[in-house]
């Protein structure tokens, strides 16, 4: 009975959304306010129905109702409750419903926040949200319905269970956070679309759009980083980023979204770049849908992709239709998007932002190009060419370094134009320190991109500190504050700016971490008890090897004693070789899983994978990696999140006006 209720809810939601879209369009034509009020209520009903449907599915998952196909396919009786819950986004139809759920929550927030604002724009904002909802509702109603009953002529005693790779806390929260980011960009897109349709002046809605974009950006960033962290901790190939199509799918909207967050500042302050911003936010939104297409369609072979699904063509046509509508509307309204002012000088903050944008977009293009290259070559030459990580590294590293350079240069430039004395004041110190560091790095023996990357990291860090120093210094001088008070008030008074600098600092740390990957080392070897082998100056000795039977798997555990060359004990590592479903009568259905162990310091990570075991001779085989500076990536990401939170934190507007 209840599953039917779920099905009915999503169908009804689809019906209500169509009705609401019609009413809104009528309202836009004839202005009868009652139509709008009714349509808005319908939009609320649509979101409520979707939320109800989601709760029903969660309830069925937790109570293991295997009469529902989705429940039977993604959980089993022995799945822990937490992962029964996370199974909501483990499969295709469930994740579409979950996507709708997030969008509906966002929709309700938007409606509530703006019930007395943006009266001209609101109808269009709702139309956009409802159209996106309708698209997903159609998919979940007709194509992959999460409430589909199990097609079986027998009693389904147990479900298939959740992949053990996904039974991990990080993996349970990585998709929803990523989805928050993906879905989050729908709202700024809706605002931008509405502004385009109503020719509303920028100043008011930009604030809302920026807040929403920041929320989406934070979620997207955290989602991407968590994904990398999970891959590093679980997958056992020793890296956090593989340039897999699905990773790229989340990285592309991140790049354009980041560009948008920068250039929207110019629009808010100077009313410039209006057309550019419109294009950017539309591309970002389209890329989120395109990303879902890449994930869901199976066009690209990838560790993430679900097997062949009928959704590909729907997503692709949705993206293409939206692309045409957006392009058409922008061309139609071109005259409204003209900026009044122009950039006055090449060496101004404005053009700094502009260059930053160009680089972000080309970086996005590079990733896009690499991602679809196989499809292009297949169409043109008939041979499918796969694009490996070396290609992406080759293309993106130089572009990324230019971006890093701009991160340092941009904030040092003055608005409108930078005078010569300005240049001298702001650039001398960072440049000198950067050059000194360059010499040091060369003397250490670093070469190539490593040197450039580290030098630029120093440059950017110094320039960020100078920004803080200058701000604090001026407050100390003007208001006689102590340094600490000055710092706190400085940040409080301009959260977005100084929060942004924290984000930059985080990015610099992450770049240092990425640079460390140039020195990664890897070795594979087998060890019997008390044998040892070494990698670089680290020795690995197998001291213990024993089997253990646990509640849902069987495990071989190896204990490796890790020592330095001088005999000092560094740590001991315990990688495991597990077999899930080890009692399954069919050996091919048992699933091995390597649980790796990492010893991590700021300087380097020692990464051990138990890859296989020869039980006859008691020899264990390991894959050992030494990855320098990986911790910088994680610490950098904490600072990035911290900085974004500062920038997002609601400031008291009344207080600001008084001050």
């Amino acid at each position: 009975m209840t599953p039917v209720f779920g099905s009915v809810s999503i169908s009804l939601a689809a019906g209500f959304s169509i009705l609401s879209i019609f009413l809104l369009l009528f309202y836009i034509r004839n202005g009868d306010y009652r139509l709008f009020l009714s349509a808005r209520r319908m939009a609320i009903v649509v979101s409520f129905l979707i939320i109800i449907a989601t709760f029903i599915l969660v309830n069925e998952l937790i109570s293991s109702n295997f009469n529902i196909d989705y429940v039977a396919h993604h959980t089993s009786l022995e799945t822990p409750t937490l992962y029964k819950f996370s199974a909501l986004w483990a499969g295709q139809s469930g994740s579409l419903l979950f996507w709708l759920f997030i969008l509906s929550v966002f929709s309700l927030i938007t409606i509530y926040q703006n019930k007395n604002r943006y009266h001209k724009m609101m109808p269009w904002i709702l139309v956009v949200i409802l159209v996106v909802q309708l698209f997903f509702l159609i998919l979940t109603t007709f194509i992959t319905n999460p409430f589909e009953p199990t097609k079986a002529d027998f009693e389904v005693a147990n479900g298939l269970g959740l992949n053990p790779l996904l039974q991990n806390l990080t993996m349970a929260i990585h998709p929803p956070i990523l989805y928050l980011g993906f879905v989050g960009f729908t709202i700024p897109f809706a605002f931008a679309f509405a502004a385009l349709m109503t020719n509303e002046s920028g100043s008011l809605w930009i604030r809302s759009i920026r807040r929403w974009s920041l929320v989406a950006w934070l979620a997207l960033s955290s989602g991407i980083i968590l994904g990398g962290w999970w891959a590093y901790q679980e997958l056992g190939w020793g890296g956090y980023w593989a340039w897999d199509p699905v990773e790229n799918a989340s990285f592309m909207p991140w790049l354009t979204g980041t560009a948008f967050l920068h250039s929207i500042i110019i629009q808010e302050k100077k009313n410039m770049l209006r057309l550019w911003n419109m294009i950017l936010i539309m591309i970002t939104f389209l890329l989120t849908i395109f990303g879902t297409f890449l994930t869901r369609s199976g066009v690209m072979s990838s560790v993430h992709s679900f097997t062949q699904s009928p959704l590909g063509p729907f997503f692709l046509s949705f993206v293409i239709i939206l692309l045409f509508i957006c392009a058409f509307l922008i061309i139609l309204n071109l005259s409204n998007l003209k900026s009044e002012k122009r950039i006055e000088s090449l060496t101004s903050r404005e053009s700094g932002f502009l260059f930053n944008n160009v680089i972000f977009v080309t970086l996005c293009f590079a990733v896009f190009w690499g991602t679809i290259f196989p499809v292009i070559t297949e169409a043109v030459q008939g041979t499918k060419i796969t694009v490996g990580a070396p290609f992406f590294n080759q293309v993106t590293i130089p572009i990324g370094l230019v971006l890093l350079l701009l991160t340092g240069v941009g904030p040092l430039l003055a608005w409108r134009k930078t005078s010569t004395e300005n240049f001298k004041n702001n650039f001398t110190l960072p440049l000198i320190i950067a050059l000194c560091s360059l010499i040091v790095f060369l003397l250490i023996g670093f070469r190539g991109y490593v040197v450039i990357s580290l030098m630029l990291s120093v440059f950017v860090t110094i320039s960020i500190f100078m920004e803080f120093k200058r701000g604090v210094y001026s407050r100390v001088k003007r208001f006689n504050e102590s340094i600490l008070t000055a710092l706190v008030t400085l940040i409080k008074k301009n959260r977005s700016r100084y929060g942004g600098y924290f984000v930059h600092l985080g990015i610099v740390l992450m770049f240092i971490g990425f640079t460390g990957a140039a020195f990664n080392m890897k070795k594979e070897f087998g060890l019997a008890i008390n044998e040892q082998n070494h990698l670089d100056n680290v020795n690995f000795k197998l001291v213990k090897l024993w089997p253990e039977e646990r509640s849902n798997h069987f495990s071989w555990i190896a204990e490796l004693l890790v020592t330095a060359d001088n005999g000092n004990i560094i740590t001991s590592l315990r990688p495991e070789k597990r077999i899930y479903f080890h009692l399954d009568p069919n050996p091919d259905r048992r699933q091995p899983h390597s649980e790796l162990d990492i010893y991590s310091t700021m300087q380097r990570d020692i990464y051990s994978v138990f890859s296989s075991i020869d039980t006859d001779n008691n020899i264990a085989f390991f894959q050992i990696m030494i990855n320098p500076l990986v911790r910088f990536v994680w610490y950098g990401s904490y600072i990035l999140v911290f900085g974004t939170l500062i920038a997002m934190w609601p400031s008291n507007r009344k207080k600001l006006l008084l001050s």
């Binding site: 396919h73 389904v156 006055e344 070396p390 572009i399 134009k417 087998g526 009692l583 890859s611």
Partner: protein, 144 residues
């Protein structure tokens, strides 16, 4: 030249250089692993070239032989349709590597066998599987 044109010129120049760089890189890969042809098992058996390629297929039933002297070394056959390709791989095998698994290998054809230095498995079939199997697999069996 006015500042306005300088800005436009710089933006256009920057985008052109980067676009050129991206396109140039896609025809001049820095190493052989950057861009690899994906071909079918039949195609590689017909051709005699030993260029680096990527191949996808199913691990043929009871074809996996782990070398007794070096457990890192494995021999197996990849089948795609009727064609079968013997493969040699040295290195850590992915967890899901087993008979019937869908795998992707990368390497070069040499002396009648394919030397792979990359072995990837696709998603576990268990989770796309038939529920009938699950019906015979009850909770009592796995509680230890």
């Amino acid at each position: 030249m006015s500042q306005k044109y300088k800005v436009i010129l710089a933006v256009v120049g920057l985008s052109l250089i980067s676009t050129f760089w991206i396109l140039w890189s896609s025809f001049n890969p820095v190493n052989e692993k950057a861009l690899v042809k994906f071909i079918s098992v039949g195609e590689i058996l017909d051709s005699n070239s030993n260029e680096r390629v990527r191949i996808g297929g199913i691990v043929a039933d009871s074809s996996i032989i782990i070398s007794p002297s070096n457990r890192m070394e494995v021999y197996f056959d990849i089948k795609e349709g009727a064609s079968k390709l013997p493969v040699r791989f040295v290195g850590a095998r992915p967890d899901l590597f087993k008979h019937g698994a869908e795998v992707i290998v990368e390497g070069a054809f040499f002396n009648g066998s394919f030397n792979a230095d990359m072995l990837q498995t696709k998603c576990a079939s268990r989770y796309e599987g038939d529920l009938r199997d699950a019906a015979s697999y009850k909770l009592d069996d796995i509680n230890i």
